[in-house]
């Protein structure tokens, strides 16, 4: 009987889809369990199995699951929105940020108005909520995704859909 490479007890989702033998050293096996064929199917459709294999081989082993999670997320969004993919989601989130910035500015003006009228004895405390907040300081610097300005944005308003949080948040 000819010797052959030992088979895995069950093929991973990738090898099942690609109809090939799943070896013990298969790069996909730890991250694409046979119980979840859909995730690999989506990733394969958008990126292609060989590109995913290359990407995974270029990251440290301990970061491969995070890489697969982000690829799966990106593939899912791209399949739902073939024109804009994740960029539609980013543009939508940036728009929300701009709205919040406007709301924060309005709130700030109202507090300043209270201070100016001198009726709030705790005005320093109230202002410190805004001035000392690192989150606000970070937020008021607009996220510099200047590359996104390349998109003419004519279709982006339509893409105000709710996307789920990335799996690693």
């Amino acid at each position: 009987m000819r010797g052959h490479e030992p088979r895995s007890s069950s093929s991973c989702a990738a090898c099942k889809l690609l109809k090939r033998r799943c070896t013990p050293t298969c790069i996909f096996a730890p991250h694409f369990r046979s119980s979840d064929q859909i995730t690999f199917a989506k990733v394969h459709k958008v990126f292609g199995a060989s590109n995913v294999s290359k990407l995974l081989s270029e990251v440290p082993e301990e970061q491969r699951q995070e890489t697969v999670n982000s690829l799966a997320y990106e593939a899912d969004v791209r399949l739902k929105d073939p024109v804009y993919g994740c960029i539609g989601a980013i543009a939508s989130l940036q728009k929300k940020m701009l709205e919040l910035q406007h709301d924060i500015a309005v709130a700030r003006n109202r507090l300043l108005a209270h201070n100016a009228s001198g009726v709030n004895n705790n005005n320093n405390h109230v202002l410190s909520t805004l001035d000392d907040s690192p989150q606000l300081a970070a937020f008021l610097d607009l996220v510099p995704y200047s590359d996104l300005m390349l998109l003419d944005g004519s279709g982006l308003d339509a893409y105000l859909y709710d996307i789920g949080p990335p799996p690693f948040v």
Partner: protein
């Protein structure tokens, strides 16, 4: 045959036909754009994706795919999903801050009303 091949056909070392699906979006003046997108998605996948889209949306699709490919090259683990995660976190934090600030405005307004009442009395 196109006397000047598009960046995709140049990269793939093939002739560039008149109806090349890549040529409107990958001019020869920007070879890196195709190289980057090909590295992440592969020419075959890009071609399939573009074929499935109406012609008027393909330019936008290429722009978004290029951006995502660039993000993935710069951050192989998270790609552009890292940006989404960051934005979502920032939005949550800012919404909390806004709610807190609006509550403080409400408190200040209440104190102002109370001061006015006590001055009147």
């Amino acid at each position: 045959m196109n006397p000047k091949r598009c960046a995709a056909c140049k990269y793939l070392r093939r002739r560039c036909p008149k109806d090349c699906i890549f040529s409107p979006y990958f001019p020869p003046s920007d070879p890196d754009k195709f190289a980057c997108i090909h590295r992440i998605y592969g020419a075959g996948n890009i071609s399939k994706m573009l074929q499935q889209l109406p012609v008027q949306t393909r330019a936008e699709a290429v722009k978004s795919l290029s951006f995502e490919a660039k993000c993935r090259v710069e951050d192989p683990v998270y790609g552009c999903v890292g940006i989404i995660s960051l934005l979502q976190t920032q939005i949550q934090e800012t919404q909390t801050l806004l709610a807190k600030t609006q509550a403080e405005i409400a408190v200040a307004q209440t104190k102002h009303s109370q001061t006015q009442i006590s001055e009147f009395m």
